[in-house]
């Protein structure tokens, strides 16, 4: 309010509850221009880099591929194709370790690059996009493999198709980049502002919308200036003053969370469990906008992205333009290698990113940052102490939850209570955990509770299904019995015909009833199917980088330890299955082995399943080799 009085040219901004100021550490990596990362000798391209159904490989070992050629085709509506980031030969199509919190492997196409880097055949550029049918443009975006590049990786074409019953008033472009350390969007906006704005124009056309707000935190003055200029030029060119507005927003974590940014810029709140389209808003990341421009105006699929390689654990933090599939290790090497003291390697930011155990994993479409943290930057928080109910967590929670109550009930595994306290509105931003004086790994508890809740939901559904199947079987048996009797009666009646009319009627009623029952049986399945994309959308709606990691029961122990032990136990067990002597597992390993045995497939299967539509094929075949062999190179890579 005050702002609009003092500064009438400034649009009004709103606040969200909580949030925290963190040392932004962006100066580490945003000084120089971005550089093209060296083309690696091998590209490891995961088939699933999006939320939704995994795509199907359409190349085989030995195939020659050109840059931009489709490697895998989307399966279903919520899915995305994958393209060859450079030319070369396919040398393997197999599970490889991918950057995912579960640490599991997933199918990848491995390309030995030939260094020529020649483009294959590309679809025609569509510079006259304003004359094109939105559906056509959406299809172009879909076939270009574009997914949310802020970290959520939800297929963009789906987001750009809210349906006729959800008219979109505002397109919001997320350039907030609120996480510390990350500067790839900053550099992208400085260097490719015009392309981003072109992408915005395309998306405005697709959505049939005349209003776009670009939110950028005020700690990025150069990006702000570049974007303002580009937006103004575009508006003049289109003869639509003020159509695209660049808004400077105060730096406060997590203002780049989708729901938070929407609140800041429009004052509207995305309904709990809802998606932005319900309030007439579509939100896309600046990187996505740029990719849209490339796809529509140049016909180029998404094969490259800006990646920040930073943290004091690498020699020379910097931003790169990286081909998808480039191993993280290559980027670290390009950045001067490890400085020696490495606490952990993280994909994403320090607040919401996830730790990876191996730098062999490739960069994916959603990987905005590779963060090498030293012990000084990411100190071990130590043993958690009891909650002292100080309420600091509630003060900073952007979802306005009561994290201490959530923690309390999550610890007690009271799944109904955690949902009463709105567990599913938690965006896992980590604010609560950072300010907690007792150093309780709060987010870990929430993930655990979410995973458990999903599992319970699945069980419930399965039980229902079984019950219905049982009922159907009973009905069928009954019907057969009846038919038998009816036949016998008919035979008798053939001898002495009388009163057949009633029976006929009853049979008709029964048949109708059975039809209805059968329909009912199908219904839950249909509902479940419908739910999947919805859940996806909700997940994409969570702030950038939302993830479903492998979650261990915290059980009063540092949860990580147990989770790790579980992984190790898993590996040990697999080795055991191969006849090898199981590796001695440190700490509570023996218990973990038991647990892993007890949990068995559940531990393995649960990971991908939780994330709707995630490579469930892979879950059935996480080969022992991939998880044990890769542990070793890991060990050396980190110390190097």
């Amino acid at each position: 309010m005050l702002f609009s009085v003092l500064n009438p040219h400034r649009e009004r901004l709103w606040h969200f509850h909580g949030g925290i100021h963190l040392p932004d550490e962006k100066a580490l990596s945003n000084a120089g221009a971005s550089v093209a990362a060296p083309l690696p000798t091998q590209l490891v391209v995961p088939l699933q880099q999006h939320i939704g159904a995994p795509s199907q490989a359409c190349v085989g070992v030995g195939d020659q591929v050109k840059k931009g050629q489709v490697l895998a085709k989307p399966q279903g509506y919520v899915s995305a194709p994958v393209h060859a980031p450079s030319s070369g030969t396919v040398v393997a199509v197999e599970p490889r370790q991918v950057p995912h919190p579960s640490g599991l492997s997933a199918p990848c196409v491995v390309i030995a690059t030939d260094g020529d880097d020649v483009w294959g055949e590309l679809p025609a550029p569509l510079p006259d996009f304003a004359q094109q049918d939105p559906a056509e443009l959406r299809e172009r975006i879909r076939l270009s493999g574009i997914v949310g590049m802020g970290g959520a990786s939800f297929p963009s074409s789906v987001k750009l198709n809210p349906g006729p019953d959800q008219p979109i008033e505002t397109l919001i472009i997320n350039g907030a980049e609120c996480e510390p350390y990350i500067t790839c969007d900053d550099l992208l906006m400085r260097e490719r502002a015009a392309d981003i704005v072109d992408g915005i124009r395309v998306m405005l056309h697709i959505l049939g919308t005349q209003r776009c707000l670009v939110g950028i935190e005020d700690n990025k003055p150069e990006a702000l200036a570049a974007m303002r200029e580009a937006a103004q030029q575009a508006n003049e060119q289109d003869g639509a003053a003020g159509r695209i507005k660049v808004m400077e927003i105060p730096t406060l974590y997590p203002s780049g969370g989708e729901k938070q940014l929407i609140k800041i810029l429009t004052g509207k709140e995305v309904p709990s469990h809802g998606i932005p389209a319900q309030i007439g808003i579509v939100c896309q990341n600046v990187g996505t906008a740029c990719a849209v421009a490339d796809a529509v105006l140049r016909g180029r699929p998404l094969i490259e992205r800006y990646v920040t390689v930073t943290g004091r654990g690498v020699g020379k933090p910097q931003n790169y333009r990286v081909r998808i599939g480039t191993p993280a290790a290559d980027l670290v090497a390009a950045s001067g290698g490890y400085t020696g003291a490495l606490e952990k390697l993280v994909v994403g930011g320090p607040m919401m990113g996830f730790r990876i155990d191996s730098d062999a994993v490739p960069i994916t479409k959603a990987a905005n940052c590779l963060l090498a943290l030293t012990p000084g930057e990411s100190p071990d928080p130590g043993e958690p102490q009891p909650c002292i109910r100080c309420g600091r967590c509630a003060e900073v929670c952007p979802a306005n939850l009561l994290p201490q109550q959530l923690y309390w009930h999550a610890r007690a595994k009271d799944l109904d209570k955690v949902q009463d306290y709105n567990l599913f509105d938690c965006i896992e931003c980590g604010c609560c955990a950072v300010v907690c004086p007792s150093h309780i790994p709060l987010v870990q508890y929430y993930r655990f509770a979410k995973t458990e809740s999903w599992a319970r939901e699945r069980e419930k559904r399965a039980a229902e299904h079984a019950r219905e199947r049982h009922a159907a079987k009973e009905a069928r048996l009954e019907r057969l019995e009846r038919e038998k009797k009816a036949k016998m009666r008919k035979k008798k009646e053939a001898v002495a015909p009388k009163g057949g009319k009633d029976d006929d009627k009853q049979a008709a009623i029964k048949a109708a009833r059975e039809r209805a029952a059968a329909k009912k049986r199908e219904a839950p399945e249909a509902a479940a199917q419908k739910e999947a994309p919805e859940q996806n959308a909700a997940e994409a709606g969570a702030a950038a980088g939302a993830e479903t990691p492998k979650v261990a029961a915290p059980d009063g122990k540092p949860p990580g330890a147990q989770a790790n032990a579980k992984t190790q136990a898993k590996a040990a067990e697999q080795q055991g299955a191969q006849g090898a002597v199981p590796k001695p597992v440190p700490d509570d390993g023996s218990r973990a082995v038991d647990e892993a045995k007890a949990a068995g497939a559940e531990t393995l299967g649960a990971g991908p399943d939780e994330r709707p539509g995630e490579g469930s094929d892979d879950a059935k075949q996480p080969s022992a080799a991939s998880s044990t062999e890769q542990e070793r190179p890991r060990a050396s890579a980190g110390r190097g």
């Binding site: 969200f16 963060l371 102490q385 109910r389 980590g430 890579a637």
Partner: protein
């Protein structure tokens, strides 16, 4: 990069806060008020604090041992120290050492540890310890010293105690031979006021009756309150506490006082007098804000603080005790979970009515 056992979930950023830091800030914030207390009421205050801290830390360590848990982390969070300090600041500077021991044992062993240790105690341990003594040994816990204000001492023929005298009194219960209890002790201003009001004196007469009264309230006491207030502001600044509880607490007390004072200023003391003459300021900033036993929702904290203030006024005016911070805090501790339940914040994206 060996998979290190430990913390794997985000956030990976450094924690910006810790329990021991918070508790140390509280200790630091207590310094000005403590110095003022020592200034006006002598060395007994310091001796009590030292004793209480030692007792509390030893008690905490022993209990942890008995519970089969490591003692060091429990001591290293300084929560026992803060409990001990707050307890020592509420008891009279003459309290025999074994009563201090008893109070601390009750606070630490029964109220804190039997409920599960830090974070689980529904009651404020320091106040529970104090109330336990107040009920069991009402005389010893209400015998106060006169503030070291020369005019007052001269007018009423009182003396102050030296360090050695204080120590002897605390450890042996013996006064120096040349002094009598009458010469060294005095009622607290609130106590005095209650007695005189009950005798039918008006406020004007009471305030004129003795040099015990200063500008707003009891001499010396008002300065103690002032310095505790300063400490409280420091904690607000360091974000160790939030404003809701102290502000609502003082508002509740002052508002209740103001209503009756406006009705009849001769039988009801002015709000300022209530504010500065007892443990109100200490209570508002340091005691009611104890996170473990207070409300955690913001609106709940407003209700909680306000009700404590009002309850203090009610007990001070019509109850059986001259001061009532401890009772009121404990009473509202009981109500805190219920208040929390009815004051949950509206979750982002949910309808206001929810």
């Amino acid at each position: 990069m060996q998979a290190r056992a430990g913390f794997i979930s985000s956030p990976h950023a450094a924690r910006v806060n810790s329990v021991d830091w918070v508790m140390l800030q509280v200790c630091l914030a207590l310094v000005p008020g403590t110095l003022a207390l020592v200034w006006f009421f002598g060395w007994g205050v310091l001796i009590n604090m030292a004793l209480a801290v030692v007792f509390a830390v030893v008690a905490e360590a022993l209990v942890m041992k008995v519970r089969g848990r490591p003692a060091l982390p429990a001591i290293a969070d300084y929560s026992a120290v803060v409990t001990a300090l707050l307890f020592a600041l509420t008891i009279p500077p003459t309290l025999p050492w074994w009563l201090t021991l008893l109070g601390i044992l009750f606070a630490i062993v029964i109220v804190k540890q039997l409920y599960g240790g830090i974070g689980y105690n529904p009651f404020n341990p320091a106040m529970a310890g104090y109330v336990f003594l107040l009920i069991s040994y009402p005389v010893a816990t209400t015998t106060w010293l006169p503030p070291d204000v020369p005019a007052l001492l001269a007018a009423q023929d009182l003396v102050t105690l030296s360090f050695m005298d204080s120590a002897r009194l605390i450890f042996t219960g013996a006064l120096p031979a040349e002094h009598t209890w009458d010469a060294v002790s005095a009622a607290t201003p609130l106590d005095e006021m209650r007695t005189l009001l009950d005798q039918g004196m008006t406020m004007d007469e009471i305030r004129a009756s003795s040099p015990l009264w200063g500008l707003f309230g009891g001499r010396g006491w008002e300065w103690v309150a002032f310095w505790f207030l300063l400490g409280g502001l420091y904690m607000l600044w360091r974000k160790v506490i939030t404003w809701q509880i102290p502000v609502a607490f003082l508002a509740g007390l002052m508002l209740a006082a103001a209503v009756f004072w406006l009705l009849d200023p001769q039988s009801y003391p002015a709000p300022m007098l209530h504010l500065v003459s007892g443990a109100a300021v200490l209570g508002a900033f340091f005691i009611a804000t104890d996170p473990v036993s207070a409300c955690t929702t913001k609106r709940g904290q407003l209700v909680y603080g306000f009700l404590i203030g009002v309850t203090i006024y009610v007990i001070r005016t019509w109850g059986g005790y001259p001061d009532a911070v401890a009772f009121s805090v404990l009473l509202l501790n009981i109500a805190a979970p219920m208040i929390d339940h009815y004051t949950q914040p509206r979750v982002f994206g949910q309808k206001r009515s929810a």
